[in-house]
């Protein structure tokens, strides 16, 4: 008898969540509430999948599936960045059992909303062009090994290279906005990544110029970026290194091309 009671309670357990909807870039945003049966190990993605299967609000109103971006579902592609219970994070690793209910799910606020939870992050990829985010290899011919890299240099580079362009750092940065001058921590860290590579170094001055032109000095050292980065990229270290490289660069300009 007791067991049965427990089972009934278990099956009745639900998850309550709210999604901030916005059907087009220009339309008004509004909230919709949903409720689905609880299961073990749910994440935000499974909630959204359930909402797509039954797009009916908790008041019984028929709605539409909320558009969202997601791909790898294991926090390595950077697609599913959302603001969950007020905190910017990847929806795939946001586990329901660790979140207070009703769970609020909304799009990032700093990027233009396309629809619902989908935002336009094109600028993050554009900024990788501004900083010449590549190592200028000659061509793909079989030219032999690359430069020797010590294990400690590799570890430093790997840390920066795990950046998945998710946008958490930009969302949390008090200085960054999509239409203003500051390029933001993501591109700064990428610039440092290429500047530490023996081949990438040759473009250091151009990269630093790209950063200076795009408001490198605007960073107010709030350090929110490092706190929210899901991949523990050393964004603070990158910004201070980029500032040091910028100081060197400007000194060279004043002293005449470094001679």
């Amino acid at each position: 008898m007791n067991t049965n009671n427990t089972m009934t309670t278990e099956t009745q357990k639900t998850v309550k969540f709210r999604i901030k909807r916005q059907i087009t870039p220009d339309s008004e945003a509004y909230w919709e509430d949903f409720e689905i049966p609880w299961k073990a190990s749910l994440n935000i993605i499974t909630l959204l999948m359930a909402q797509h299967t039954h797009p009916v609000t908790s008041l019984g109103h028929k709605s539409t599936p909320a558009s969202y971006e997601a791909n790898c579902l294991e926090e390595v592609c950077g697609s599913c960045t959302m603001v969950v219970n007020g905190k910017v994070q990847q929806a795939c690793t946001a586990l329901v059992d660790k979140l207070e209910q009703p769970i609020s799910i909304e799009p990032m606020s700093k990027f233009p909303v396309i629809r619902d939870l989908m935002v336009d992050r094109k600028r993050m990829f554009e900024s990788l062009k501004w900083i010449k985010g590549w190592n200028p290899v000659d061509n793909t011919a079989p030219l032999g090994e690359g430069p020797r890299i010590s294990p400690s240099e590799q570890e430093k580079a790997y840390n920066f290279s795990r950046c998945m362009t998710c946008g958490c750092c930009l969302e949390s940065c008090p200085q960054w906005s999509a239409d203003e001058g500051f390029i933001g921590p993501q591109a700064i860290a990428q610039s440092v990544l290429f500047n530490i590579h023996p081949t990438g170094k040759s473009l250091e001055d151009e990269r630093i110029k790209g950063l200076i032109d795009n408001g490198l000095n605007v960073c107010g050292n709030a350090q929110n970026c490092a706190a929210v980065c899901p991949k523990e990229v050393d964004l603070i270290g990158a910004i201070s290194q980029a500032n040091w490289q910028a100081t060197k660069y400007m000194a060279k300009q004043i002293l005449g091309n470094g001679h």
Binding site: N43, N71, L95
Partner: protein, 623 residues
């Protein structure tokens, strides 16, 4: 776009993972001098978010330090795939592998290093040589980023145009039957548009969605390959689906725990039970370990390869442990994958340098620290050895002007792919075959696609628009997501590790029933802005077709080979040492299965056996 650019030749690449990006990089490089060809790169997601980021363990290439050779790599690959692949292309791939690693090294991939600063290697399944170069446990991500960077450089120079957030729908053919364009849909504006192109490369990866949940990403929906199959492309070896032995469950996806965990010394075990027995290859009955103590069953059964037997074998062993011997952890369908001893012996940081990428996935999703506690894992659908049929030398499909590269093609891996060979085949095919061959083809065409009358394209745009409108106007009682779940469940139950003909027949009937019910769906969003529901329904339509290709290929192959295992036909059968070819028959809306000879001219087929204490002479042949 300026009119002079409009008059350049175009190559469309569908998919921006390793195969697509390496094709793009190569084509842009070949066009750098004359600027006569522009790459148009189409991808559902921004290319930097492609599924290649999920590849964890590494990329294979023979190296000088351990007595390895490119010939040994070739032999391991052919033998690992149970001889079901043309050998010429595999040899070329293995011969090119060391140069491919060097190229990525030059592009700046942060491969783990030896003390001297050279690229470190680790062991992977199906070989005794440490030949896998790696960047932590996110090697695919790092290789993809390196290519993404080089392609961005060409994009900045105007040689590559990206169409991110577009989905390929179908190909357009000229009056000679050669591909002259593609039809694609913008996933935000929902606009359907034709792109005249002079060659087309399909690099869309595998069809994991056919199985509902797998280790694949959301974008791996198989639509491009299935749509081409419906347009007459041959689909080869569809039934060869790799089930990876070590993954963790989830309602949204199954998450891979890389083979590299075992490459670094991770051990697979369950608690032994001496009252139960297993029979070794000599026919001797042996106890299932000591009761209550860890039983390292792979190490006991395969003393030379141990935990690093090929994936098909490890997967079947785990399946047997759980379902036949009922030795799963706490009676659940799990076995342990244990790296905690490495952490204890060599320290957390050592383990993190090698495997952090996967250990943090496990910890984030399971809430348990694998440095301290063994992981609970089970097999999951992972990779398709089969794919679009391509010509050995050019990677052109049987449709003129349509090429395929990477997981989307069927070459190289035969009946079972070895770990860390997929990244290699993606890059090799893009960089050395499909990329340059598409350039050659595009340049050789008499008339450029932009010169063709626009009516050809308009007719195909209309066809796609009409089809989508038809789906949009359905107003039945079925739910596309629930039909997909039914498809995924039956495919996972009947067309994965163990297959039998009765169940396969039922599965095919079930898919046909789902195909009928499909026309009774309602798409829950009728809008024309970022409508994901209509895309989902459209993808499901194609998944159902591809599922039948997989099932009928499996049904008709009455043997066991690599990933395809039928208890009723437990051995390989020389009559089936052939490539399965599925072609679409419009008359009954079904695949026709036929077979094609395989080139085994370099290494004569031999029985596959990983149980011996030492590796047979055949396994050690080298030139």
């Amino acid at each position: 776009m300026s009119s002079s650019e409009n008059k350049k030749r175009k190559i469309a690449i569908i998919g921006g993972g390793l195969a697509g990006l390496s094709s793009a990089m190569k084509i842009a490089e070949m066009s750098l001098e004359k600027k006569d060809i522009i790459v148009q790169l189409f991808s559902i997601v921004p290319v930097k978010r492609s599924h290649s980021v999920c590849a964890q363990g590494g990329i294979n290439a023979a190296n000088k330090t351990t007595g390895d050779s490119t010939y040994q790599h070739f032999d391991d690959t052919v033998y690992g795939g149970d001889f079901l692949a043309n050998q010429g292309p595999i040899k070329k791939m293995c011969d090119s592998a060391p140069d491919i690693i060097d190229l990525f090294d030059r592009m700046g991939v942060p491969f783990n290093r030896t003390a001297e600063g050279r690229i470190d290697r680790r062991r992977f399944g199906g070989t005794l040589h440490p030949r896998t170069a790696y960047a932590g446990a996110t090697t695919g991500q790092q290789l993809l980023y390196a290519l993404d960077e080089q392609v961005r450089r060409y994009e900045a120079e105007g040689l590559v145009e990206k169409y991110e957030g577009w989905e390929y729908l179908s190909a357009t053919f000229d009056t000679n039957g050669a591909c002259c364009g593609i039809i694609a849909q913008n996933l935000v504006t929902m606009e359907i548009q034709a792109f005249p192109v002079d060659a087309l490369i399909i690099a869309t990866g595998g069809p994991g969605s056919v199985y509902g949940r797998s280790t694949n990403s959301v974008s791996n929906n198989g639509l491009a390959a299935a749509s081409l199959y419906k347009q007459g492309a041959k689909y080869a070896n569809g039934e060869f689906i790799q089930v990876h032995p070590t993954a963790i469950g989830g309602d949204d996806k199954l998450r891979l725990m890389s083979e590299s965990a075992r490459g670094e010394g991770g051990r697979v075990w369950v608690y032994g039970d001496a009252s139960k027995t297993w029979i070794d290859t000599e026919g001797i009955e042996r106890p299932c370990g000591e009761t209550g103590k860890p039983w390292y069953f792979l190490e006991e059964k395969y003393p030379a390869y141990g935990n690093l037997v090929p994936r098909d074998i490890a997967t079947r062993e785990i399946f047997k442990i759980v379902y036949e011997l009922k030795l799963g952890v706490n009676g659940q369908p799990f076995v342990f994958l244990d790296v905690s001893h490495i952490s204890r012996e060599k320290g957390r940081e050592f383990l993190d340098r090698k495997l952090k990428g996967i250990l943090e996935i496990y910890e984030k999703f399971k809430g348990v620290d694998p440095h301290e506690v063994p992981m609970e894992i089970f097999p999951a659908v992972h990779y398709s050895m089969g794919g679009l049929w391509v010509d050995d030398k050019t990677h052109m499909t049987n449709l003129t002007g349509v090429f395929a590269a990477g997981e989307a093609d069927y070459q190289y891996h035969g009946a079972n792919r070895l770990g860390a060979n997929s990244l290699l085949s993606c890059v090799f095919t893009g960089l050395h075959v499909a990329g340059p061959e598409a350039v050659k083809f595009a340049r050789s065409r008499e008339k450029a696609a932009w010169e063709l009358p626009t009516e050809i394209f308009e007719a195909d745009v209309k066809k796609e628009k009409d089809f989508i409108n038809k789906l949009m106007n359905l107003s039945g009682t079925e739910n596309p997501r629930l039909i997909h779940a039914e498809l995924g469940n039956i495919m996972t139950e009947n067309v994965t590790i163990v297959r039998n003909n009765e169940a396969l027949r039922k599965t095919d009937e079930k898919i046909q029933e789902l195909q009928k019910r499909f026309w009774n769906i309602t798409v829950p969003d009728k809008g024309n802005w970022a409508n994901q529901s209509i895309r989902y329904a459209h993808q499901l339509y194609y998944m159902l077709h591809l599922a039948r290709v997989i099932v009928l290929g499996a049904l008709q192959r009455n043997e066991s080979r690599g990933a395809h295992y039928k208890p009723d036909f437990p051995n390989t059968n020389i009559d089936f040492l052939k490539t399965t070819i599925a072609t679409y028959n419009k008359d009954n809306d079904s695949p026709i299965i036929s077979y094609e000879e395989i080139d085994t001219s370099l290494i004569p087929p031999r029985a596959r056996d990983y149980t011996k204490k030492t590796v047979s002479a055949a396994g050690a042949i080298s030139n």
